[in-house]
C-alpha cells in the first residue's frame, strides 16, 4: 500500500435521470453534499478545510460559474475553488491539498445538468480549435468514429467486441438505481442500431443524465481519529495529451497510459492486471472501454474483446468492469462522470452496491476521460 494515502469518508448522490425539471442545479448540489456530509458525520461550516468544485462555464450557461457554488455547499467564506476539469481531476486537487498537511478535510463536488443544454453538439463545436478544426463544421463525434475505426483496424478487437461492451453495461445498469439508461438488450440490438459515425452506432454512444455528486476526503490521521474504516485513495494520476487530434495516439491514448502509470507508481502496483477486483472505466463510447482497459494494463493489447466474450469482465468474472453500468448504462454526466466512477468503486469497496456487489472487493480503479474533443483523463486507485 502507498506511503501517502487519503481517506474517502463519505459520498453523496442526488440522481434525477435523464431530465430534471423539478430541481435546479443548486438543489441537486445541496442534496448530494448534505448526504455526503451526513455519511462522513461532519459539519461543513466547521469541519471542512477546503472545497473543490468541477465545472465548465459553457456547460452551465454561466460565465465564472464558481460564483454560484458556495452557499448550497456550506462553503461560504471558506477556501473554495473550481477545477475546470473532470471530477477525478478535482479529486486530484483535493488529494494534493490534504497531502500538504495544511488541510485535513476537503470536499469535492461535481454535477451534471446536461438536460439544460439545448444544443450539446453546437456547444462542442466551440471546444474545437477555432483556427484548424472548427471551420470544418463537422459533427464533433466524427472523431469518435475515426478513432473507433483506427482501434478496430489496429488492435485486433472488433466492432462486435465493442457492441458486447454496450450490451454488458446496459444490462448491468438494470441493477443500479443510477442506471437510467439501462436496458435488456442483446448484441443484435446494438449492431442493428442506427449507424451514426461508422463504425459507431447509436447504441455504442452514452446519453446524458442529470445528477449531483459529492465526496468527502480526509487525511489519514483525521480518518483514524474519527474512528472510521474508510476507503483509501492510494494512487492518483492525470494527464493531458495534445489538443490537436492529429498529434495523438489514436489507438492506445497517451492520457490514459501516463495517468495510470502515475497512479500505479504511487500505489506501489507492479501488475495492474492482477491488482483489482473491479474497474470503473470510461465507456462514453463502447470501444473506449476496450481501448482504455488495454491502455492502462488491465488487459493485454488486442485481448480485451476476447476476455470480454469469455465473461472475464462480467460481474462475477475475474475483473468486474463497469458493474455499475458505466456511462452507457447510467449516463454521461459532463464533468461529474469521473466522480461517478469513483463513487461506484467506493460503493463496492464499502459493500454498499446492493444487487450488483462484487464479492470480496478489496481494490478497485476508476478511470475517466473528459470526452470529445479532449485528450484528458485521470486514474484513481482505491483500496480498503
Amino acid at each position: 500500500m502507498a506511503k501517502n494515502k487519503v481517506a474517502l469518508i463519505g459520498y453523496g448522490i442526488a440522481s434525477y435521470g435523464a431530465l430534471s425539471p423539478e430541481v435546479s442545479y443548486k438543489e441537486m448540489m445541496y442534496e448530494a453534499c448534505s448526504r455526503a456530509y451526513q455519511m462522513a458525520g461532519i459539519n461543513p461550516r466547521k469541519e471542512v478545510d477546503s472545497f473543490v468544485t468541477c465545472s465548465e462555464d459553457f456547460d452551465e450557461g454561466t460565465s465564472i460559474f464558481d460564483e454560484y457554488v458556495p452557499d448550497q455547499m456550506g462553503a461560504m467564506l471558506r477556501p473554495t475553488q473550481t477545477i475546470a476539469g473532470d471530477g477525478l481531476q478535482g479529486v486530484a486537487a483535493a488529494v494534493m491539498q490534504i497531502l500538504t498537511g495544511r488541510f485535513e478535510v476537503v470536499v469535492v463536488e461535481a454535477h451534471s445538468k446536461a438536460s439544460n443544454i439545448t444544443d450539446h453538439i453546437g456547444l462542442l463545436h466551440f471546444a474545437a480549435d477555432p483556427v484548424f478544426t472548427r471551420p470544418l463544421l463537422a459533427h464533433p463525434y466524427f472523431l469518435a468514429g475515426l478513432e473507433m475505426r483506427c482501434f478496430v483496424s489496429i488492435s485486433g478487437n472488433t466492432v462486435i467486441d465493442a457492441a458486447r461492451v454496450a450490451m454488458k453495461n446496459k444490462n448491468n445498469a438494470l441493477k443500479n438505481p443510477l442506471g437510467v439508461h439501462g436496458a435488456k438488450i442483446d448484441l443484435e440490438d446494438v449492431l442493428m442500431s442506427e449507424p451514426t459515425f461508422e463504425p459507431l452506432k447509436k447504441l455504442d454512444q452514452a446519453n446524458p443524465a442529470d445528477l449531483g455528486l459529492c465526496v468527502v476526503l480526509a487525511s489519514e490521521e483525521r480518518a483514524r481519529k474519527m474512528g472510521l474504516s474508510p476507503v483509501w485513495i492510494t494512487g492518483m494520476g492525470w494527464c493531458t495529451d495534445s489538443y490537436q487530434p492529429e498529434r495523438r495516439d489514436w489507438c492506445w491514448p497517451a492520457y490514459a497510459k501516463i495517468a495510470s502509470e502515475m497512479a500505479y507508481r504511487q500505489a506501489g502496483i507492479q501488475q495492474p492486471g492482477k491488482a483489482f477486483q473491479l474497474a470503473e472505466i470510461d465507456d462514453t463510447f463502447s470501444y473506449k472501454e476496450l481501448q482504455h482497459l488495454e491502455t492502462i494494463g488491465l488487459a493485454r493489447v488486442g485481448e480485451a474483446g476476447e476476455k470480454l466474450e469469455e465473461g472475464a469482465f462480467d460481474l462475477g468474472g475475474e475483473l468486474a468492469v463497469n458493474p455499475s453500468g458505466g456511462s452507457l448504462g447510467c449516463g454521461w454526466m459532463l464533468d461529474a462522470t469521473g466522480l461517478f466512477r469513483l463513487i461506484e468503486v467506493a460503493k463496492q469497496l464499502r459493500g454498499e452496491a446492493n444487487g450488483y456487489q462484487v464479492k470480496d472487493a478489496r481494490a478497485g480503479i476508476a478511470q475517466s476521460w473528459r470526452g470529445i474533443p479532449t485528450a484528458t483523463g485521470a486514474v484513481c486507485v482505491l483500496e480498503v
Binding site: 473554495t80 475546470a84 486537487a93 466551440f126 494527464c239 493531458t240 489538443y243 501516463i258 474533443p373
Partner: protein, 387 residues
C-alpha cells in the same frame, strides 16, 4: 507550510496589449518559455503544469484549458486548470504551491493567459453572463454597475473623495512607465481622472484598468531541488483563498470580508502576526483605483477607511515605506484577467530578488504580498512571499 517548502525560481511575462495578433496558446508559450529560461529549465524539468484563464466566453472556446494546454507546456503531463474568476491569477500560483508542497511533484510550471480581444465588439458584453439568470440578467447588467455601487458605498461610509481615490490611478499609471510589459503607462493628474468620461457614476474612464491580451508564468520548485535552479529562491510562505456568498446584494459592499479571510489564512501559514510591519511591499488587486484601497484594508495593511490617507501621504509610492503596485498594477500594466494576477506575483518575485530595474523600490524588502479579487464581489486570493 506544507510537507515541502516551495519556492518560485523563475518568472516570465508577455507584453500586455489591447489586441494581440497571437492566439492564447502562443501568448501562453511566450510567458512559459521566458519563465523556464529564467530558471534555466526546459520542459523536461517540469513535473506538472497548473494553468488558469478566466471566462471561456471571452474567446468563445469551450473547455479553454484544454485548448491552451500545449501552449502552456502541458503536453502529456499532469495538467490542471483551476479557476476562481478574477482571483484566478494569484490563486493559480497557490494551486501550483499545493501541487509541489504535497510532495507529489518537485517542480510545477504555472501559466495564466487571457485573450479578451476576441470578444466583439467589447469583452464587457461577455460579463452579462456572470450574473444570475433569473434575478439579475434580465436587467441587462454590466460589470461597471456593481463596481459603481461598491465604489459609491465605500466613499459614502468613510467619507472619501474622488480626488483621494484618483491618486491611485495617477500612481499606478506612472509606475507603469518603467514597465516594458505595460499597456497604458501614462502621466496623468488627479484632474485628468476627474475630467475623464463618466461610465457609471462615480466610475470614470481613468478609474478603470483596460481590457487586455497577455500571459504570465512562474516556475515553482520544492526545497529538495531548488538549489539546482537558483541561488536566489523566493519562498511561498503563505497562501490563502476565500469565497463569499453568491448573493452579493445581501452584504455591505464597503468592506471585502472575503479578502480578510484569505489574508488571515495566508498570514497564519506564514507566521505573520502584524502584517503592517511584516509585509514590506504589496501588489493589491487594482482593476479599479478604489479597489486598491479597498483591498489594502481587507488585507489588514491599514485600518478601515485609512487607505486613502496613507496613499495621500505617499507611503504607497515606490520610495514610501509600504510600496503598493510598483509594477504599475492593472491600471497601468493592463488587465488580462488571470494573467494579471500572475503578473503581480512576478513583480513581487523580481522586487524581492532586486531585479526590478527602474521599478525597484527604495526600501529593503524581505516579505511581499500579492492579492487578487474576483467573481461577484466574492473571492479573495492571497500569497505571501519571502526571500
Amino acid at each position: 507550510m506544507g510537507l515541502k517548502r516551495v519556492a518560485i525560481v523563475g518568472a516570465g511575462i508577455t507584453k500586455f496589449m489591447r489586441r494581440a495578433q497571437e492566439t492564447g496558446r502562443e501568448l501562453s508559450y511566450y510567458a512559459a518559455k521566458m519563465a523556464l529560461d529564467n530558471a534555466g529549465m526546459s520542459l523536461d524539468n517540469v513535473d506538472c503544469v497548473a494553468e488558469s484563464t478566466a471566462p471561456d466566453a471571452f474567446d468563445g472556446v469551450h473547455m479553454n484549458g484544454e485548448y491552451l494546454s500545449d501552449g502552456s507546456g502541458g503536453w502529456r503531463k499532469p495538467y490542471l486548470r483551476s479557476y476562481v474568476g478574477g482571483g484566478s491569477g494569484v490563486f493559480v500560483v497557490n494551486h501550483g504551491w499545493y501541487q509541489v508542497a504535497s510532495g507529489l511533484f518537485d517542480t510545477c510550471l504555472v501559466v495564466a493567459s487571457e485573450k479578451m480581444s476576441s470578444c466583439h465588439p467589447h469583452p464587457q458584453g461577455a460579463f452579462l453572463n456572470i450574473f444570475d439568470q433569473f434575478i439579475e440578467r434580465p436587467l441587462g447588467c454590466n460589470l461597471l454597475w456593481i463596481f459603481a455601487l461598491e465604489m459609491n458605498r465605500y466613499m459614502t461610509v468613510h467619507n472619501i473623495s474622488h480626488e483621494q481615490i484618483a491618486l491611485v490611478s495617477v500612481k499606478n499609471k506612472k509606475n507603469a512607465l518603467d514597465n516594458p510589459a505595460a499597456q497604458i503607462p501614462e502621466k496623468v493628474t488627479v484632474q485628468d481622472v476627474l475630467n475623464s468620461e463618466v461610465l457609471a457614476w462615480p466610475v470614470h474612464r481613468l478609474d478603470i484598468s483596460p481590457t487586455s491580451d497577455g500571459a504570465a508564468a512562474v516556475v515553482l520548485a520544492s526545497e529538495d531541488v531548488v538549489h539546482k535552479y537558483t541561488d536566489k529562491p523566493v519562498w511561498i510562505d503563505g497562501v490563502g483563498w476565500s469565497l463569499d456568498t453568491t448573493y452579493w446584494t445581501n452584504k455591505d459592499l464597503y468592506y471585502p470580508r472575503y479578502v480578510e479571510k484569505a489574508a488571515i489564512m495566508a498570514y497564519k501559514m506564514a507566521g505573520i502576526t502584524d502584517p503592517r510591519r511584516e509585509i514590506h511591499i504589496a501588489e493589491p488587486y487594482d482593476p479599479f483605483d478604489y479597489k486598491e484601497l479597498h483591498h489594502m484594508e481587507g488585507l489588514l495593511l491599514c485600518d478601515k477607511g485609512e487607505a486613502p490617507k496613507i496613499t495621500e501621504k505617499g507611503i504607497t509610492q515606490r520610495d514610501g515605506s509600504m510600496p503598493t503596485c510598483p509594477s504599475g498594477g492593472l491600471l497601468g500594466v493592463g488587465n488580462p484577467i488571470a494573467a494579471s494576477g500572475v503578473m503581480k506575483v512576478c513583480e513581487m518575485f523580481w522586487q524581492l530578488r532586486g531585479e526590478a530595474g527602474a521599478r525597484q523600490v527604495t526600501r529593503e524588502c524581505k516579505t511581499a504580498l500579492a492579492q487578487a479579487w474576483g467573481d461577484l464581489m466574492q473571492v479573495g486570493t492571497v500569497i505571501v512571499l519571502r526571500k
